[in-house]
């Protein structure tokens, strides 16, 4: 298995390091054609406005089409914003692969950024979660499963092949969430083999 990390900007090497702790091979994806060589894609934290400008229409369209075929994607923070269907009350022009609405910088400016301990449904308890100018999930569709909450807002969710969280598991040594995503990729490829 090879997992791609969208490498336009942001915390790319941290995700690669988390994957390598799990003995999973990773590579940086900067161009649409590089998507073909990887079994799933992590969209890292960074600045969502910058990343969506750097990914031109072609790249975003390709990601959208991939997501519809069941291709596994995992977005953290800015990556979650790129994957959300609605951002700050407007339909997303990025990928829109998960039926959630997010509010950008919902946790406030940097002086309000924080660490907190969370339990994640279906994965485990006591995650040290790092929130940096974090977006929150303010609405989620009927097929979306919220997996973690902070201060009354959902901060992690999954809809089929798409996983998102507001915080940064890649900034800690805890790889349980990355392990969960790797399992999603494995389940997905088994599922596709069975259908085929």
């Amino acid at each position: 298995m090879r997992v791609g990390v969208l490498g336009l900007q942001g915390a790319v090497r941290e995700h690669a390091a988390s994957l390598s702790r799990l003995d999973i091979e990773s590579c940086v994806v900067k161009r649409p054609e590089e998507l073909d060589g990887v079994d799933g894609l992590i969209l890292p934290g960074g600045e969502s406005t910058t990343m969506s400008l750097l990914a031109d229409g072609d790249f975003l369209g390709r990601l959208r089409a991939k997501a519809e075929t069941g291709y596994p994607m995992f977005g953290t923070c800015a990556g979650m914003i790129l994957l959300a269907r609605e951002v700050d009350g407007r339909p997303s022009e990025a990928i829109g692969a998960i039926d959630i609405a997010v509010e950008r910088n919902a946790s406030g400016r940097q002086v309000d950024s924080f660490e907190a301990t969370l339990d994640v449904e279906g994965i485990g308890d006591l995650f040290r979660a790092i929130f940096i100018r974090a977006p929150y999930i303010v609405r989620s569709g009927p097929d979306v499963t919220p997996m973690a909450w902070y201060d009354g807002s959902a901060v992690m969710a999954r809809e089929r092949n798409v996983l998102v969280c507001s915080f940064h598991p890649e900034l800690t040594d805890d790889v349980r969430i990355h392990r969960y995503f790797v399992d999603m990729i494995e389940e997905g490829s088994q599922g596709r083999r069975l259908e085929g």
Partner: protein, 294 residues
């Protein structure tokens, strides 16, 4: 319980800026141009370094009214500069809600001997460094991000290159040295011993290191990225050029695709005049900014 201002939260924001460009802006309009061009953050200041250099006088923290305008104009992080050692200016910027403070040699130093004790703050700090010793001293004072000093306001990349190469060389030496040589190395570098241990633990500088001071073209940005910088600060380079919008987005693309000469060639074409530069040897020694606050 939420814990704010931890070192992981401070250095974590810098990690999120990696591979991006941070642009100096003096007005809300410039901040919007920078954001639309793909900047990952803006640096609010009263005058860009080239103007500070040309006009002289004491350069201070920007007017809070201006900082607030810029904070209100964009959704990307807003940084702002304080004079070296001026902890009260830093308190003001923290109160205004800026996302990062640059304790910067571009402004006139406020303290002849000491930097700000950055551990006292919730807001994170970035500081300039010419070598590993300076970088480690700033980190030990609580900085959560480092940038080369270069020579600001010159449009001349040579000093940023010098500082980055020296820092890389010194880091390689720390990583290669047998343990018994480390203390002497710490003494010679003027670096706290514990910081050298931290470098050996992580195999690199433990925080993000951006290039700054003289970057004016997409190729400058690509060169600094290939030398191992994590991202780029552009000071006067954007808004002192003839076509800020296009130059800004060209530098952003060049920073992402720094290893792809085809893209660098494409984005470098038809950008108009870069800022007019200054040869370092023509600057009188007392006007150099990089030797402030070491």
């Amino acid at each position: 319980m939420a814990e704010k201002g931890t070192y992981r939260v401070k250095s974590g924001l810098a990690e999120m800026l990696k591979g991006g460009v941070i642009m100096d802006v003096t007005t809300a309009d410039q901040a919007r141009i920078a954001e639309a061009a793909g900047a990952v953050a803006v640096m609010a200041l009263e005058r860009v370094p080239a103007d500070i250099r040309a006009q002289g006088g004491v350069a201070r923290m920007a007017d809070p009214t201006k900082v607030k305008e810029i904070l209100g104009a964009v959704s990307i992080p807003v940084m702002a500069k304080v004079r070296i050692g001026h902890f009260a200016e830093a308190q003001v910027l923290q109160e205004l809600g800026v996302d990062y403070i640059d304790e910067s040699e571009v402004l006139t130093p406020a303290d002849p001997a000491y930097h700000v004790n950055k551990w006292d703050f919730t807001v994170p700090f970035v500081c300039g460094a010419r070598n590993l010793g300076e970088a480690c001293r700033r980190l030990a004072e609580g900085a959560a991000m480092i940038r080369t000093k270069g020579e600001p306001g010159t449009g001349n990349v040579i000093e940023a290159v010098r500082h980055m190469r020296l820092m890389n060389e010194q880091i390689r030496a720390v990583l290669a040295a047998p343990a018994e040589e480390l203390m002497t190395m710490a003494k010679e570098l003027g670096a706290p011993y514990q910081m050298l241990l931290a470098i050996r633990d992580s195999g690199r500088l433990p925080v993000v290191n951006f290039a700054a001071g003289g970057i004016a073209t997409p190729a400058d940005a690509a060169m600094m990225m290939q030398l191992g910088c994590d991202g780029i600060f552009v000071g006067s380079g954007v808004f002192k050029s003839t076509d800020p919008e296009n130059r800004a987005s060209a530098i952003v693309r060049a920073t992402t695709h720094y290893d792809d000469p085809k893209i660098i060639a494409e984005v470098s074409s038809g950008l108009g005049e870069a800022m007019s530069g200054i040869v370092i040897e023509e600057i009188p020694e007392h006007e150099l900014m990089q030797t402030r606050g070491t």
